[in-house]
């Protein structure tokens, strides 16, 4: 496994464990030294985005301490409904 994949897998694992994510899906990528991307889980249901971010960053800070800002970029937190758009929208 490459270093890039290692970094992505490690963040996925840390977030799943720390946030107790239900049925998580990830669309993450490594950009330079940081991992960024989308996290999809029903765990985020009923939370405003600022609350989702607070929980994500609290989890990363608990996992990595001050190192978290060097490892993590930006994560967009979706519920499955927000990610899997209904088929009746007219996206071409």
């Amino acid at each position: 496994m490459s270093k890039v994949q290692d970094a992505v897998t490690e963040i996925q694992s840390a977030l799943t464990r720390r946030l107790n994510l239900q049925d998580p899906r990830f669309a993450l990528e490594s950009v330079g030294s940081k991992v960024s991307g989308s996290i999809i889980s029903s765990t985020f249901r009923g939370m405003a985005d600022s609350e989702r971010q607070r929980r994500i960053w609290d989890a990363l800070d608990q996992e990595y301490g001050a190192e978290s800002v060097h490892r993590a970029g930006t994560f967009l937190a979706f519920t499955p409904d927000e990610w899997d758009l209904d088929d009746d929208s007219d996206t071409k």
């Binding site: 600022s50 990610w83 758009l85 929208s89």
Partner: protein, 166 residues
Amino acid sequence: MEQESTKLKQKTMGEVDYRKGARDRIGDSYILLRAEAFGGSAYLGGRGAEGALRAVLWKADPEIQQGRKSLDTGHDLRRLLTNVRSLGLLRAGGPDDPLIAAVQRVARLWYNNMRFASSRAIETRWHQLGEVTGKRSIKQAASEFYDACSVVIKRCEALCQKSKTR
């Protein structure tokens, strides 16, 4: 030297550039929100929303991709939304209503020249708009503004991802 400068000017941004830029701006916006730097947070959140709408337009319009039509729509978020709707990407009353409402909310409070404005000036403007009141602090208003920008960016990201899989 002149040729090099022309080359740089000709390099246009595409869907991926706008998407990743929007994601980075909303990330920056959250960092500033946490640090209670509300003016910078609001500015970057709105800029991210603009980038996300541009990404959807770029992705959906082959004329823009082929350079036959410009994406130079200015920074009017309502106009960008109108262009997205005119491409048939959204359906009134359908699942995309959250995008429409969120863009309207962001557009009411965000303006391009926010980039030059002091945090105090932004707070004063939001006060005049009734967004900040005696009972509603700038912290609360900035947090909800961040949430609206995030809704725009996430919905645009989902639209781009959806069209990828088709």
